[in-house]
Symmetry: C2
Subunit: 446 residues, 2 copies
Amino acid sequence: MSERIQPARGTRDFLPEDIRRREYVVRIIREVYESYGFEPLETPAIENLETLLGKYGEEGNQLIFKILKRGEKLREALQAEEIKENELADLALRYDLTVPFARVIANYSDKLPKFFKRYQIQPVWRADRPAHGRFREFYQCDLDAIGSRSPLVEAEIFQVIRDVLEKLGFSDFEIRLNHREVLREVVARVGIPQEKQLDAIIAIDKLDKVGYEGVLLEMLKKGISNASAERLLGFLRSCSQKEDNVEILASVKDFIGEKGEGLKNLEEILKLNDVEQLKLDVSLARGLDYYTGAIMEVSVGDLKSSIGGGGRYDNLIGMFSRTPIPACGFSLGLERILVVMQQRRLFPDDATTSNIDVMVTVWSEHLMKQSLQLASELRSQGVRVLVYPQIDKLGKQLRYASQIGARLVCILGENEIAEGKVSIKNLLTGIQEIVNRDELKEKLAV
Amino acid sequence: MSERIQPARGTRDFLPEDIRRREYVVRIIREVYESYGFEPLETPAIENLETLLGKYGEEGNQLIFKILKRGEKLREALQAEEIKENELADLALRYDLTVPFARVIANYSDKLPKFFKRYQIQPVWRADRPAHGRFREFYQCDLDAIGSRSPLVEAEIFQVIRDVLEKLGFSDFEIRLNHREVLREVVARVGIPQEKQLDAIIAIDKLDKVGYEGVLLEMLKKGISNASAERLLGFLRSCSQKEDNVEILASVKDFIGEKGEGLKNLEEILKLNDVEQLKLDVSLARGLDYYTGAIMEVSVGDLKSSIGGGGRYDNLIGMFSRTPIPACGFSLGLERILVVMQQRRLFPDDATTSNIDVMVTVWSEHLMKQSLQLASELRSQGVRVLVYPQIDKLGKQLRYASQIGARLVCILGENEIAEGKVSIKNLLTGIQEIVNRDELKEKLAV
């Protein structure tokens, strides 16, 4: 029985209080995103399977929820001699918001301005093993800026992140910045051959989880020489001990020699930046394949996992449209933000309380309509009113009102109606008074 | 190429203007729902397949999008001698908001108040053949009241519907009301045996689409006698020619004899009602299996299809929990409302315009940071500011500002910075003036 009434594994139902907390955070994120001129956009939850396949790396492909074909097409697929998984499905659930957005840009390039800034706050689905804080359905809050390679784009994204986190009440966050091209040059510099450079980067991506020893083992397993791996990790470790971005940048310059476009771009971005929480971190790698330039990740306090990440991906849109269009974006993870905010009690009280101002009681079958009318009157004055839904003892009605968090109760009985009055009971003070119907408005002023 | 960049069949991408229209409507619906004390609730897009199967009738089952099993479980399912469709899937996409809500009520009965009113505005998915105005992903705006059998619940739902539609700008809507038990009694009265009564009701449900002739044929096909069918349709037709609810109710009373609980309930509901757009319609049937009492549907003008429907379903929650809990709800279809509102131009201008107040130009690489800082200053005053993302000719920057709908442009060049000033260009009037940096705030007052 109990399994039948639970949400599917790794997903959650959100009761009113949960929703209010989520909406409080989403409202702040939206307000900040909009203050920078990002505009709202949404895409369907389901995409053609081929739109998603081949965009997230092998591991990502495995985590895509696929939707079974229907009717004749399913029958055909089942008649094949050897049935293949991808032949059974034609659609899939959105895995992130970036790939569908890249598809949208390719599809509506004639309707959208050359430079286009959009935000998108929607759920995504991944067939991951559920764990503490890891869900199969979770919300991402993405922003992306399309059409420009200017370092101004990155500098502005740092500002957005800072503004959002400060408005949510965080003061101890860090935005870590690196650059895919610079990382490649570092990796090349220690003698790792081109075909193993992505392996090295993917290994470095696990540094937070497995430490230097773990990354070393991973690289050796991938056939990278011990000398190269040791030299790479030594350099990353020495950078990690420096505090100052200028100093770290100087070390990188020394290490790879002053020539690459990547380094120049990284320097420009840092020069434009005015967000003091930005920290250059040469060991930041980011898992996804499609990044081409700056990459960034945000963490709060000493939490191991990040609450958001992003970067520049100048080639992804080109996978959908013939003309490559430069792009850079960032995604905040709603669920992790909520977890930390709840631990730190960052929600103001009124963000989570019920939205009912007044409850109207119901006296008798005969007077029910009068209660409905009183409620309508109050609503037309902007008050949120709940009518007790049936005839019951008054005490029971009052207990219900305080259970649901109503502030005031309007009692409408035979006497009150005969005299054109209403009894008002304040549930906080317990004080009850009888007022004229036409004085009600000011008494309830909310 | 072009298919690769389109959304999946029957689904849509929503560009900023679409989103703004949708959010305008959703905001009004939410405000009204909340003014009646309905509280927000959300459920996952994916449900366990067994939660949904057997709730929507045979036709409904066919339209559920099923999600392919993964990994070992999929391999097992594929090794079966005869592979069955339902063995390949373990999850499914939400088909409506009512069944997941019934599951939630059963699951959290200890956390929720005895009477619980919730609203839920989320997409649902149906593998229907896409057609004009019919999508595979569409939003429903549901409200449901749990825990009471009182007719007050129905009377309040009529008020909610009236308030929403009036606030959206509709004046020519009609709320049609009928009662499943009354309809059953009518059907019984003409001599249709118990086991064919649901067939008769399902046939009547198609009256709008196929007319009296079509319903007659459908009933004959189901083995209902010509005499019974003719008598039934004759009665429905005679009721449809009456305008007054009291008159129609009297006819029904006459026809079935004054005895049933259904008729008594319907009378009570009508007595409490104060919504003048409510019309008793004895031929209203509603397709879904789970209704037990009052059923209702809303239509606008002379549109054939309804923009919303609902009713009482006192037994559905009992399919998930051991104790049956009475419930009554209504669902507005967002997509149809949007279509009609667009045809009738019911959107205020500012509901669809861009949200950018000011664009700041960028003069040179050297002065980029100054532009970013000016924008930050303005944002801290509550202005929504977009910075042109790269260096370009001023004319190009101004054209872009007007393309995206910015009202004002702040120009920050060498001279302005040297003098502590900013040039402001009003894109509506074309007037440009130079103001002191500290006067900027009042000049931009938005």
